[in-house]
Amino acid sequence: MTIDTETQVNPSADLPEDAHQLTAKLRHAAVEALPPQKLMPDRQPAYVASWIYVFGILTVSALAVVILTGIVLAIFGPNWWHVSTVGLFFNSLHLWSVEVFFFCMVVHLWGKFFMAAWRGRRRATWVSGVIAFVISVATAFTGYLSQQNFDSQWISTQAKDGINSTGAGAIMNVTNFGQMIMWHIVLLPLVVGILVGGHILLVRLRGVVPPFAPPDQLAIEVKQGVPADTAATAASEVQA
């Protein structure tokens, strides 16, 4: 018995691609911008040789622990950690993973600043990182408000003044536990996830920022306003 492979195995193969489709256009754009080798590279430039570079992935890892422990807390409900020692343990995991998250994020921020990591069309990466930082602070804030203990009572009654002063208190009612916990476990994690995901895709898109030129070449760049390579080429051509 012979198997007709042309039509039976892949019956859609003879339908030509409809390049005018939104789907096809989006797919083309995505694959062109981030082909698999670029999306999941197995190599990095030689200058990626410092422990400072691991703080991005450490921050993401801490975020993963925050989310995983948050999921467990969500499964058992907001009251669980007050009445169960296992619940208290998961609350502790959640709290300390947040501390580690901000710790690593700030070290990452310092590293990226001193590397001027926005250079070479990487400004969106920097901006998305700062916004992610700010939204993370807001997310942590709503978490502290959701504790249902003295700390959350204090934080809400104090913070309300700051938020009310901006007019945002009309919508964001920090003493409204129901609203704050929904922001904490639904709205803000979604925003953080989108920002962090976009931030990482931007890093893959542009690659890790190359170093400044060595001192003598850097001086030429500053003075002449051209990349050191081009200046060197131009200089050697003039000599020739």
């Binding site: 999941m40 590279p41 197995d42 190599r43 990095q44 430039p45 030689a46 200058y47 040789a49 410092s50 691991v54 450490l58 890892s61 801490a62 007050h82 208290l88 502790s92 300390w96 993973s97 901000f102 600043f113 001193f114 590397m115 001027a116 070479g120 990487r122 400004r123 920097w126 602070v137 504790q147 249902q148 203990n149 003295f150 700390d151 009572q153 204090w154 809400s156 009654t157 003044d161 009310n164 002063s165 901006t166 945002a168 208190g169 009309a170 009612n173 003493t175 409204n176 536990f177 129901g178 190359p210 170093p211 400044f212 760049e221 002449q224 306003g225 051209v226 990349p227 390579d229 081009t230």
Partner: protein
């Protein structure tokens, strides 16, 4: 040949600025397993977090209730309750979003978004905190009569009673379940506040404040604002270094680390002019929004974006790279470059 043409960035005619632009890498690549790195990072973080949780645990100070407050300090409760009735409490005079007290909103010049947005969480302290709860009490003919008398009195009469009581309750005492206030002409107000204090100490006021509009209450605005109007909560906060003038925004109860990343936000409250400003909250928020914007826009701001180049910390970070580029290094002159993908 013009020195201005270059292959680095897409903007061919722009001047190359090393704080904004960079030549893309055409040099050597090394194998680098990102997924493996991610797995190791995750495991390391997990171990650290589990360790911290096992060693230090986390705080859980019990919340204050109207019951615990009025039990611990019934005089403070009574002193707060009268200000809610006569409309002089913090909440009563707050303005938007709780009520429309004029002149209470914070502003910077003519800008006052607090007043623009108006009242969205209305609280009428006299009714919400005193009269309505008292009227839910069963089998309290004296209290109900007092409330009726108060409600049917003129505004001037009510003001006269409450002013007299507020003065007297400053010297109140509490013993054997009885709130004793120096004698004065405050009509039914004394009975009302004493009744409210008993109601609070029984726990009934907590329930009344929360479920006044619906059974499944998740909005604690009313009881929280009432509690925060008193001195009791403020004293607890100050004892834990959580006050606004104690860098409290950064701090956690007990000895746990708090939110160290809020250091700059809370710092402004400790220094003039914010320290004594009536509009401190709005002003500090404006300063922080500006600074956050500055941080986000560093790549666009000349001078600010030059700090990395000037401070030269990058020479430590990339020292291996600069060694490789030296004439004797693998990427120096004459060496072959291993192109990447």
């Amino acid at each position: 040949m013009s020195a201005a043409t270059h292959s680095a960035t897409a903007d061919r005619k722009r001047r190359f600025r090393p704080d904004r632009d960079v030549e893309e890498w055409h040099g050597k690549y090394y194998p680098y397993d990102l997924i493996k790195e991610g797995i190791i990072a995750f495991i390391v973080v997990l171990i650290v977090v589990v360790g911290l949780a096992v060693i230090f645990s986390s705080p859980d100070d019990k919340p204050v209730t109207v019951k615990s407050w009025s039990t611990a300090n019934p005089v403070d409760f009574a002193q707060t309750a009268i200000t809610e009735l006569d409309g002089t409490s913090g909440t009563a005079t707050y303005g938007p979003p709780y009520n429309s007290t004029t002149g209470s909103s914070q502003s910077i010049g003519p800008i006052s978004p607090e007043s623009w947005f108006g009242v969205h969480h209305p609280i009428d302290t006299a009714n919400d905190y005193v009269i309505d709860p008292l009227q839910t009490l069963p089998n309290t003919p004296e209290v109900q009569a007092a409330v009726t008398e108060y409600k049917s009195a003129s505004a001037d009469q009510q003001a006269s009673w409450t002013a007299a009581y507020e003065k007297a309750v400053a010297n109140a005492t509490y013993s054997n379940g009885v709130l004793t206030v120096p004698k004065g002409d405050y009509g039914p107000v004394g009975t009302m506040i004493a009744g409210l204090t008993s109601m609070a100490r029984s726990g009934a006021l907590d329930g009344a404040l929360l479920s006044s509009r619906q059974f499944y209450g998740t909005d604690y605005t009313k009881p929280l604002l009432f509690i925060a109007d008193g001195q009791y909560l403020a004293n607890l906060g100050a004892a834990d270094h959580l006050g606004g003038d104690q860098w409290g925004m950064m701090n956690e109860t007990g000895n746990w680390p708090g939110q160290a990343w809020l250091w700059l936000y809370t710092m402004w409250y400790q220094v003039p002019p914010f320290k004594t400003s009536a509009n401190a909250d709005f002003q500090v928020w404006a300063v922080m929004m500006f600074l956050t914007l500055l941080l986000a826009l560093v790549p666009f701001i000349p001078g600010l974006r030059s700090i990395p180049r000037w401070t030269r910390v990058y020479r430590l970070i990339w020292r291996q790279h600069y060694k490789d580029l030296a004439p004797s290094g693998p990427l120096g002159k004459g060496a072959e470059s291993d192109r990447g993908p």
